[in-house]
């Protein structure tokens, strides 16, 4: 690891000032991804500006009935918060489906959004990678890509975004609050992460010395919400595919539907095509299957990850069926929760 300077400014403005004009520096939150990447040599900041003790640790009620989650709220505290568990269960479930107890105790809300892909080529400095070293190529496209993207990838990058939390936030219409050298701004969660295009080194739209200060949740959706994840082992593994959904059904008809996929793309994938197909449709498994299929028709799987498409389809239909109160196949087959 390269040597680095360290600063722990006392407030947000001082932290932004400390990183302004320092493209060789980085903010340090919980460190659970950044320090790992520094050990691997994937990134080598010359300056760490420690924002982990800034007083951005509150979960507060908003006048509109939503919540504001401070950037430094630890993942474990977010998942355990009574208002999150009762009003935004998909978010609590998503956070608890990710990482380990130890990591969730250290990892922050902002850091979870800003974590980097776990693509093996990105993490291996002996390999080319357009995300790590722009222009060097993407060996994953023809190499080991079982865990990688089936939606929205480009010739330059097939990485996936690893966060579970962000998938629930995408479905819940969360808004990211940013503060930078030029003041504050807000960005919808669905517009915060990017598709790779020709600039896969840019994961998000965040600017130089810009700091995530909070994530805003609008009032909870009218119907129930849930998150579900498929992975290679029962715990402590990244998603092969995941689904966050909220569904409002009245008189057997879908009034409102929110659906987002994780593990399929370079960003949390808000399934707007499926949502349009669901609104006004009868709340039946056949209609759910058709709507989800219309979204996944855009999938362009790679040689070894085509299994993700039917996996994501089955997950989404199962979650929607459960939210609609349809008969539970899992209970009959004994399949996982």
């Amino acid at each position: 690891m390269k040597e680095f300077a360290y600063a722990r400014p006392a407030d947000v403005d001082a932290a932004i000032a400390a990183l302004s004009g320092r493209p060789d520096g980085a903010f340090l939150g919980g460190g659970t991804n950044l320090v790992d990447l520094m050990k691997l040599g994937v990134t080598a900041p010359a300056l760490l500006v420690d924002v982990s003790r800034l007083p951005l640790t509150a979960i507060e009620e908003r006048p509109d009935g939503g919540l504001t989650i401070g950037a430094n709220v630890r993942n474990s505290d977010l998942a355990a918060h009574p208002a999150v568990r009762t009003r935004y269960p998909a978010l609590s479930q998503a956070v608890l489906a990710g990482a380990s107890g130890q990591i969730r105790n250290a990892a922050t809300t902002a850091g979870n959004l800003l974590q980097r892909t776990r693509c093996l080529y990105f993490q291996d400095v002996g390999k080319p990678c357009n995300k790590r070293l722009p222009g060097s190529g993407c060996p994953a496209r023809d190499g080991v890509h079982r865990d990688l993207a089936v939606l929205g990838h480009s010739p330059h990058c097939v990485a996936t975004h690893p966060s579970d939390m962000a998938v629930a936030l995408a479905a819940l219409d969360a808004v990211v609050h940013l503060r930078g050298p030029d003041g504050g701004r807000t960005v919808p969660l669905t517009g915060f992460h990017r598709l790779p295009g020709e600039e896969p080194h840019r994961d998000t739209v965040i600017g130089p010395a810009e700091l995530v200060t909070a994530v805003e949740l609008p009032p909870a959706p009218a119907g129930p919400s849930a998150f579900r994840k498929a992975r290679d082992r029962a715990s402590y593994a990244f998603a092969l595919a995941s689904v966050a959904a909220a569904l409002e059904v009245r008189d057997g008809v879908v009034r409102e539907a929110r659906l987002a996929f994780g593990g399929l793309a370079h960003k949390p994938w808000r399934a707007r095509v499926a949502e349009r197909a669901l609104r006004g449709a009868p709340a039946t498994e056949e209609e759910f299957a058709r709507a989800v299929g219309s979204e996944l028709a855009a999938a362009e799987p790679l040689r070894d990850n085509a299994f993700k498409v039917p996996l994501a389809h089955a997950l989404a239909v199962r979650v929607l069926a459960r939210l609609a109160g349809l008969p539970d196949h899992d209970a009959a087959t004994g399949a996982g929760r």
């Binding site: 040597e3 360290y6 722990r8 050990k39 420690d50 982990s52 479930q93 608890l96 107890g101 105790n105």
Partner: protein, 196 residues
């Protein structure tokens, strides 16, 4: 034990974020690590993790380095009472934070009840993961008592109420600690013993 003499007294009371620790060079700082109730004043390269500070600077080698990437849990310690992977914590960022290692679990000359249970249940073979398992289990038991849910906690569980630690709950909550000898069955039994 300590190659570096302990200093008396905790740092001043915390009112908001403390200032940056004293820099002795651009890439090192003098910090105070509070470990098992003892203050240690150390000048550390910023690259030093809490794990390396414990093992290489304070001779507290109970905490183990397994993968060094937070994948195995062997390095688990408690920071302000919460379990964390010490391999990913820059020591300079943990200036003034209370750290408890496996050496700090026992008190009054007797093993911690969980240490006793690991012995009674034979919850180990080679023992390399055991310090991390112990610290992680202490943290997990506290989290459940505080009402923190897990991935397998029923959705109907009342928020904030203590979560009973069934074997499924223990397995899920301990998934960040690997045991390559495969002593899992007895580790779960040992944790069950102290929570009954």
């Amino acid at each position: 034990m300590a190659a570096h003499p302990a200093q008396d007294g905790p740092p001043p009371p915390d009112s908001g974020p403390p200032p940056s620790p004293a820099s002795s060079s651009p890439t090192s700082s003098t910090v105070t690590l509070e470990v098992n109730g003892t203050s240690h004043r150390l000048t550390l390269d910023h690259r030093t993790t809490v794990l390396d500070a414990l093992r290489e600077h304070l001779d507290l080698t109970g905490t183990k380095k397994g993968c060094d990437h937070a994948q195995c849990g062997a390095c688990t310690v408690l920071a302000d009472g919460r379990r964390v992977n010490s391999c990913l914590l820059p020591a300079v960022a943990y200036d003034g934070v209370e750290i408890t290692t496996v050496e700090g679990l026992a008190g009054g000359g007797a093993p911690h009840p969980l240490q006793r249970a690991f012995l009674d249940r034979d919850g180990l073979q080679c023992g390399y993961c055991t310090p991390g398992q112990l610290c992680s289990a202490v943290g997990a038991i506290a989290e459940a008592a505080e009402g923190h849910p897990s991935h397998v906690t029923p959705l109907s569980a009342p928020p904030g109420a203590p979560v009973p630690l069934s074997p499924d709950e223990i397995r899920e909550r301990m998934s960040g600690n690997l045991c390559r000898c495969g002593a899992y069955v007895n580790i779960v039994a040992a944790i069950e013993d102290v929570t009954r």
